[in-house]
């Protein structure tokens, strides 16, 4: 099997597993502060793998719990955008005509908007919370998947087996979701995997700006923010969450690339 996929899956699996089993993996309560002088901003040690922050909290434990937030934002946001993208792209490509024109104009508008500022604006409007972040990232990132699905549908709907299903009186709904969609999923899997990485980055950026997760809870982005003041002498506060984001996003991208190679026969032969 493809090495990149294996690397990606292993990292993602370990990350997800430790996020799910956070209470067993983390040795300390991520919210428990210790304000005594020698417990604050402690260097990484056997006691505290990634050191402690300015309030004496264990950075490793905070990051393990933070993984729950970061990863679930990634997955749920992509889930929302997949749902929307597949549904709209599917009916757009299948029916064509004015439905297609309307949906494609909306997609173009979505593309023209600087998405990040749109997300920031909406979050400021709705109030910063992690649920809002998930929904808003999902609702602003479906355009790419929509186009992808539409393009697949445009070619698949002309295939004989679609015509054959129509001849047998199979309903449009079933033709779209049972006949065409499974044939169109290859590129969608690739794009979805890559989007998870993107969504995690956006969440980190939002939390970094204070628009995502609210204190005292933490995601990787907000741990970064908290650490930036001390970057001169407490490098571990920014290095580890930064690395976690980097490695996770990298794993999703590698997995996406690997999937693309496996699913796209045109790329397979080039070695």
């Amino acid at each position: 099997m493809n090495k990149r996929i294996i690397f990606g899956i292993v990292i993602i699996f370990v990350m997800t597993l430790s996020a799910v089993l956070a209470p067993f993996v983390a040795r300390y309560d991520p919210l428990k502060m210790d304000l005594s002088e020698d417990a604050r901003l402690e260097k990484p040690s056997r006691e505290h793998f990634f050191g402690t922050d300015n309030l004496g909290r264990d950075v490793f434990s905070r990051m393990v719990y933070g993984a729950r937030i970061s990863l679930s934002v990634g997955f749920i946001a992509v889930f929302i955008s997949l749902g929307m993208g597949i549904f709209l792209g599917g009916i757009s490509g299948y029916y064509g005509g004015w439905i297609d024109s309307v949906i494609m104009r909306i997609v173009e508008i979505m593309y023209c908007f600087p998405t990040f500022f749109l997300i920031m604006m909406v979050i400021t409007f709705l109030g910063p919370s992690i649920v809002n972040v998930m929904i808003v990232i999902g609702l602003t990132s479906w355009a790419g998947i929509c186009r992808l699905v539409r393009a697949e549908f445009l070619s698949l709907r002309e295939r004989d087996f679609v015509q054959a299903a129509k001849v047998q009186g199979v309903s449009n709904f079933r033709i779209i979701f049972r006949h065409i969609l499974p044939n169109a999923m290859g590129p969608v899997y690739v794009s979805a995997t890559l989007s998870v990485g993107g969504a995690i980055l956006v969440e980190s950026a939002l939390s970094f700006l204070g628009l995502g997760i609210q204190i005292p809870e933490a995601s990787w982005g907000s741990i970064l923010t908290a650490g930036k003041v001390y970057i001169d002498y407490a490098w571990w506060l920014t290095l580890f969450p930064g690395l976690a984001i980097l490695i996770t996003v990298l794993s999703f991208n590698l997995m996406g690339e690997g999937l693309r190679e496996v699913l796209d026969p045109k790329l397979r032969e080039r070695k």
């Binding site: 004989d160 087996f161 129509k166 001849v167 047998q168 009186g169 199979v170 079933r174 044939n183």
Partner: protein, 266 residues
């Protein structure tokens, strides 16, 4: 006898060009009508027109298609969907592309039944077994994907799909063209056998007059979107009036006919 399907003065254009001009056709219950013609003569367009599934670029200029006296162009979408597969069914030329590659063939057979009848899953599975038996395939084929089957087997599956709801009319659009000769014969025998048993009407589209000779009661010869000659098979074969028909009949390879042989190499 009352006709089951009647096409009256059907004219269809694509991009200003007439692909069907003033086509008239009558299909009687329990009879097999062949439509013969070369590629591009409008045979497939006609079969698609009967199901009102002409491509978007095609425009119907005039004419009507009456199924049991009702014009199919006047039906609403629901009636049409009900008619397709249930009353009028079709087998395509290419069994390789007409089956969904990512769906088990069993499900592809049962979905037509499920689309038209409200019956329990158990009964549907019963129907599936009956259908597979009818087309002489074993039951465990149902869990195969299309790529695991041979061309002949796939065409049998297509036939099972088309006959799953006991249609009154079966359109066969060059069902054997993509198969090799021995499999061709098997499929034709199978279709004819089932037709004798169930007595549905067949519209058999082909370019091969030798097949027409084997199966048809009536023959319509098409050229450039027009029906240029029609009549009972015996009459057409014995005394074709049209030059073109005569050419097509002459194309049937005859036993002992040495004319077209290549000279033997020395």
């Amino acid at each position: 006898m009352e006709n089951i399907l009647k096409i009256k003065d059907l004219t269809v254009t694509i991009g200003g060009k007439e692909v069907l001009s003033d086509v008239d056709l009558t299909l009687l219950p329990g009879k097999i009508s062949a439509i013969v013609g070369e590629s591009g003569s409008g045979k497939t367009m006609m079969s698609l027109a009967i199901l009102d599934l002409l491509p978007d670029v095609a425009a119907r200029i005039s004419g009507e298609i009456l199924f049991r006296g009702k014009n199919i162009f006047d039906m609403d979408n629901k009636e049409k969907q009900n008619m397709r597969g249930n009353s009028i069914s079709m087998v395509f030329q290419e069994p390789f592309t007409a089956l969904n590659p990512v769906m088990r063939v069993g499900e592809q057979i049962t979905e037509t039944i499920a689309a038209h009848k409200i019956i329990s899953e158990e009964k549907i599975q019963g129907c599936l077994k009956g259908l597979l038996k009818m087309v002489k395939l074993s039951e465990d084929i149902a869990s195969c994907y299309p790529h695991e089957l041979s061309g002949g087997m796939r065409q049998r599956i297509m036939l099972a799909i088309a006959l799953s709801c006991d249609p009154e009319i079966l359109i066969l659009d060059e069902p054997t063209t993509a198969l090799d000769v021995s499999v061709q014969k098997e499929i034709l025998d199978l279709v004819m056998g089932i037709q004798k048993e169930r007595c549905f009407s067949i519209l058999f589209i082909t370019h091969d007059f030798s097949i027409v000779n084997m199966v048809a009661d009536e023959v319509h010869v098409m050229k450039n979107g027009r029906v240029i000659e029609k009549g009972a098979k015996e009459i057409i074969f014995k005394s074709p009036e049209n030059e073109y028909t005569r050419h097509l009949i002459d194309c049937i390879p005859k036993l002992g006919d040495e004319r077209e042989r290549l000279p033997e190499s020395e």
